[in-house]
Chain length 309, copies 2
């Protein structure tokens, strides 16, 4: 039996790092968003998987939360000279991962298999699994038209006003074969962007339906503290989508699939509103600056799951 | 009217650099071997075009003759960590060119168009043209079986014994549209490997036939001095193919297409043997250490063409 942690990039990776400090490899499986995945300069890039991989391998850039530590940028400097697209920050070390993955994809391996190989080469004992091996891509409908995720997120820096999210699938996306649906003992939804990181995971029918009809508890950590996102465009998107920009607004978004919801201590005045949605609330310090913060919040999630079982 | 210089990588690029110092951009077109081109880690790599491009842009690694000056190798170090194929030396700066080209190929541009764009971005006024936009690949038949060029040349370091060369074409290779067959005023065959660099160019039917039925002079520079190749496996391959390992052996190989042959001063005793093949001989210092050596040898070739006209 294993806990699934559903996660996107930077914010989710912080809680994930906490989880690996309190759970053994067989006790947790990280299910990662692939809605951000894209092709760039012929490379197959999986930004959220990479961020989690670098984080768990201990080689992530600590100041940005993504990319490699001790990175060099010679290739990108030359790409600028060629007037190539350089809006996506491709470091020299990071490039190796993209090249390696792209080669394996061309050889016919699935993203699940490739991610397992990459983890093994980087010495990660934990299972990092793409939500699906199928092509499932987030498109952001905005006042500037429909944008592929990276166009919206990186190139246009989340500036366009969001009207709707779409998750394009070439074929109905099957859950990754590395996720054993009947082995789930609980689910932690990390404090990632609901629309850009978690919803694309829930677009995989088998994942959503097992969460809706669950025989195990599901808890989420609020990605909103006060009226602000801890990181990234979550609050801005909620506002543009006409949602209440509080931790309770996100709880409402997840109401069908949550048994418990972890909010920041400073948001305890939202507890009764959230409990009225039919879930239990736990308060904890949810802004993770230090490793200790991450471990403590992860511990709160795992304890909460135990209580809800 | 333009002189065509047929060239491979390092050795040919040296003479080519000499040629650009004595000819204007409209007076010479560099026709480059694509038999070495290959896909590696999903990248489309054109080693000979790149060597010439870097050389004419003044950014080639002077000590190796190929690759970029001031190169860094962080990506390759990480590829090793992934246990990826690292037998091909991919520098961080060099990678930018391969990524840029690969992206343009995926967008539907031809190698001729791409090479023109790359030259323009690197400030090269001269025309560098692939012999063909078609897929034409050198395969080396050896005592270890049939090997793709890069397998033979880089991975196995030319160690297998060569029995035959083959040039595989998916469709009959048409000459690059940037080469104006009716505008040729003369041809210089650079001192590149006859089997690995020049013959693949001559495999393009329109190039071979215009050279055989030529209305202009053709000269070659011997790639053999004494009984040794100036660089690379030319002498070893000639020996394995049962050819006489002298400048005259190469002249015999090219006999149908040559009017003149430039040999090193130290090889003047081969002159009468070569003239008996039906071509004229000029002696010159043909080992190019300095830029002055390159310019002098290029000048000798151009003067020789003038005399033969």
């Amino acid at each position: 039996m294993t806990i699934l942690a559903l996660t996107g990039g930077v914010g989710g990776a912080k809680l994930s790092l906490g989880l690996v400090h309190i759970l053994d490899p067989h006790e947790v499986t990280f299910v990662v968003n692939v809605g951000d995945d894209f092709e760039h300069l012929g490379l197959s890039i999986s930004p959220d998987i990479d961020t989690l991989t670098y984080t768990l391998a201990g080689i992530v850039n600590q100041s940005t939360g993504w990319g490699r530590e001790e990175e060099s940028w010679d290739c990108l400097a030359e790409l600028k000279r060629f007037e190539a697209d350089t809006w996506f920050q491709l470091g020299d070390r990071d490039l190796a991962l993209h090249l390696f993955r792209t080669g394996l994809i061309k050889s016919g391996k699935s993203l699940t298999e490739i991610t397992e190989i990459i983890c093994s080469r980087l010495g990660i004992d934990y299972k990092i699994v793409p939500a699906t091996d199928a092509s499932l891509r987030t498109h952001v409908l905005t006042d500037q038209g429909s944008l592929a995720f990276q166009d919206y997120f990186v190139r246009l820096q989340c500036k366009p006003k969001v009207t709707k999210l779409e998750y394009h699938q070439r074929i109905p996306a099957s859950v990754s074969p590395a996720i054993k649906i009947d082995q789930i003992s609980g689910v932690v939804i990390c404090p990632s962007n609901p629309f850009l990181s978690i919803d694309p995971i829930l677009e995989v029918d088998e994942i959503r339906s097992v969460l809706v009809e669950r025989a195990f508890p599901v808890v989420a950590v609020a990605p909103i503290v006060g009226d602000r996102a801890i990181k990234g465009p979550t609050a801005k998107m909620m506002r543009e989508l006409g949602m209440q920009v509080t931790c309770a607004g996100v709880a409402r978004h997840y109401r069908d699939i949550l048994d418990g919801y972890v909010i920041d201590n400073t948001d305890s005045h939202h507890a009764s509103e959230i409990e009225a949605l039919g879930m239990r609330v736990r308060t904890a310090p949810s802004i993770m600056h230090t490793l200790e913060d991450k471990i403590a919040l992860a511990g709160a999630c795992v304890d909460f799951l135990d209580e809800l079982r």
